[in-house]
Each structure stands twice: as C-alpha cells, then as structure tokens.
Symmetry: C2
Subunit: 264 residues, 2 copies
C-alpha cells in the first residue's frame, strides 16, 4: 500500500488526526525508567503501547536519538519495529542537500528505515527535494511555515506580493502530486493556515506546535477546514506523567487529544 | 583549542585551503575494496592516509553513511577516529530544527562526534541556529548560496533590493562572532562570492562545488580575496582511481588541488 493510502486509512481507522511525537528526552524520563538508551527504548515501548489505539501516526524526531551517536540511531530502528504496521510513521529529520546527497538521505529514510514520510527543508530548492519525491509510494512533508519564533526571520520575508513560505508552497506544489507532497505548517499560525488551505486544499499537512508550544487546537481545526492533516503533539503527551504510573497519565492525555482532534 | 584557531592552524600547517569530502559511495569503490561497510571504512582509511599531508580539513557527508542505518552511522564515528587530531573536521549534516531539537542535533555533532563544525540550514530562523552557536568553541557553516542548480529556486528570490541569500547573511551575521559563524557559498557562483566577500570579509567560508560540480578554481580564489576559506573537493579526489592502485591516483589529484588552492 502506498503511504498516502496508509495515511487515509490511519485517519479513518483511528478516527483522529493525532500524531504522537516521540521526542524522547533522557532528561525527562519518568521515575522507574533508566536514564540510558535501554530506558529510552523501554519508554518508547510503553508510550506506543499506551497510545496505539488513540493515534493515527507517530513522528520520530531524529535529533533526540542522533545525539547518542550510532547507538542512538539504533534506537530509532528498534522503536520503528515496535510501532504497529498500520500506523503512519514520519521521520522528522528535516533533511535536504544537493541531488546525489539527498538521494542517500532518501534511501536512509525510506529503505534503511522504511518510514512512510520524511520532513524536508526546502532552502536548497528543487533538486534537493526531488530525490525524496522519486519514491512515488512515499511522502514528503516540506517545511513551509514552521511553529517556532524563528519562522519570522526568513519564512515571512516579502517576495513580490507573497511571503517566502507562500512562494515555497506555490513553486514546490508543482513538483509532485498531493499524494506525495505535504507541508509542515505550525499550529501557532492559524490565520496563515486558513489561507494556505485555500491554496492547497488537497495536500496533506503536518501541523506541529499544539501543546507545549501553545498552538490553539480549535483555531487550527477550523483553519484546516477538514483537509487531510496530522496534528502532532509530542512533549505534552509523552511526558504527561513523572511517576511510575506515567502510562496512565499518557493515555489520559492522548485520549484528550484524540477526542479534540477528531477525524470524520 | 577552539575550532576557529584549529582552522587557522590547519590552513597554515598544510599550506592549502583544500578540504577533502568523504562522500563515500559504496557503488563507486575501487577494485579490491569490498562493497560493504567494512570496505567503506577501509576505503576511508586509505583516503585519509593518502591525503592527510595534502589537506587542511575533512568534510564528512552524513547522508552517505546514514543510508545504512545505525551501522552506517557507526562508520562516521570510526572514520573520525582515523583523522589526525590537527585536521579540521566538518560534519556536513545540513541540520536545523526548532530550538530544543537543534540543541540535540548540536549535541550529536559536537559532543557525541566531536566535530569542529557543522553545516546548518537557515530556513527555520534564529532559534534553530542559535543552539549550535552556543557551543562557542565550535563553528557553524550556515547555508547561504549553495552550489546546486536548485539554489535559484528560493535562495535567489528578491527580498526588497537583496536576494534571499544576502538577507540570510546580513541577518544571521549579527547572531555570532565570525569565529563561530561561517557560510556555505557554492564555487559555482564566483561573481556572487566576490560581492559576499565584501560584505563579510572575516567570516570563514566553506566553498563546495569544485571538481565534479564544475566550479572554476581561479575564479573562486580571486573572488574569495584571501579570506579564510575551505574549498571542498569530494568525488574528484576520492574516486580518482578505479583500480587497486587508486591511492596513488587519489594522491596525485589531491596534490593537484593542494597546489591550486594554496594558503598563504
């Protein structure tokens, strides 16, 4: 099954747009979980068990694993083996380089790790993104307007009458079908999201920034206007509990987000 | 010693601005080297032995290793152990994410792997770059005008009277001292390089795109105007020979580039 169909199925089967972000930070692990790589994997196992019937997707934030070198990278692989096959998996790696190098990053994500989708940075232009799009059964989420304060520095610069992020969407949306190419739009920008949804009603969106980053859920849902989207929550779910019963707290938080982020 | 001093020393001691790029592609390994990860490390060992007195620096292109998952990532670590301590090492990883995530990428590069510098993508703005700059004894090379054809898609968009890449340089050069912050400028753009050097005479530049990508060496040297810079050559050196005597061919190519790219 191609990844776009898997995304649609995950949304329908789970009934939610929730994506759980596995930003597993050793410094924040709850009581009873060892603060080492064994603990990291054990924590992910518990989080996945506690949330798999409540989420459409998981997003793996590569940085939190890479910081421990190849042993951390191995935890990514082991974590992916714990995620049920029906769930959509996003490699949140923010990659992008010249053509022959992007080809290797695409191979890393789609072959070595068999993710359904990867986040890609558009700054280096078409030949840096196309090697990812050549995997026609997989998906790219291209960064457009990100959730962080620094999104104002360059993404919101005026280019002719548009902002840079609008220009990125306009140009790149011609590179591939909506079934292969989605965009990252931060939940912290609901007004811009509303406008973007009018331009690209069909491209899937990955919307991070709800929860700890402060994005407003109702504003985001209204602005998204029923389009195919995953709304990511990381820290607010996975670190919901600090004690040995944390799996229950995680489940309560995930249930809350599942019901707020209904897919219908 | 901080990385900027190490860069200056490497230039002086080696007498060249050459940086050898370890874009080790299993499909291109010479005869006699096994096309697997053991061969990859063995190849890197031979390349490093053949070039270490001819180069100021090595650049490790993460993609070529990551495509083999955690075992590939391990080859990065093992390769770094083969490089003499006096040589400047660049993690060519093109990272960048929201603040807390960039902090982990910085830790990956500067602590887990102890690189001197990392390439960072500016698209996500200040809070995505600053966690790297907080390692005040290390260096960032921020992507400005890259060597690939796609650099025209967004980097050359007009923002007010400047191009986007000029704006990136102007804004970001206020984030840190030139000893911490350099820029990636493709050798395929000598005219733009000349103008950039007038704006930022002191920031170190990482200039890829000479060799296989077709950048003109004399044009680049003239445009750089004697500034602190590393000029990277990857494929044209490391894949100079296809037979079992490839180390000699590699050495001849590296000698050629060393003498063309004199540091004085």
């Amino acid at each position: 099954m191609d990844s776009y169909s898997k995304l649609e199925n995950s949304l329908i089967e789970s009934g939610t747009m929730l994506c759980v972000g596995l930003d597993t930070d050793l410094a924040k692990l709850p009581k009873g979980i060892a603060s080492n790589l064994t603990g990291m994997l054990e924590f992910n196992r518990i989080i996945i068990n506690a949330t798999q019937d409540l989420t459409a997707a998981y997003k793996i934030n590569y940085a939190f694993y890479e910081q421990y070198g190849h042993e951390g990278f191995r935890i990514i692989e082991q974590t992916m083996n714990l995620i049920p096959q029906s769930k959509f998996i996003i490699a949140d790696a923010k990659r992008g380089d010249i053509g022959n190098t992007s080809r290797s990053y695409a191979k890393a994500c789609f072959e070595a790790l068999n993710s359904d989708a990867i986040t890609v940075n558009p700054y280096m232009g078409s030949d840096s993104v196309k090697p990812f799009l050549e995997y026609s059964d997989k998906m790219v989420f291209l960064l457009a307007l990100t959730s962080n304060p620094g999104s104002s520095d360059f993404q919101r610069l005026k280019v002719d009458n548009d902002y840079l992020y609008q220009h990125v969407i306009e140009v790149s949306s011609k590179w591939a079908d909506y079934k292969n190419l989605g965009y990252v739009i931060g939940a912290t920008h609901p007004d811009e999201l509303r406008t973007i949804r009018k331009t690209i009603p069909s491209n899937p969106l990955l919307i991070p920034g709800v929860g700890t980053q402060g994005g407003d859920i109702d504003g985001v849902l209204s602005a998204n206007n029923g389009g195919v989207a995953l709304i990511n929550v990381s820290r607010d779910i996975i670190f919901a509990g600090a004690d040995s019963d944390f799996a229950n707290q995680v489940r309560i938080k995930a249930e809350f987000y599942k019901s707020k982020l209904k897919w219908q």
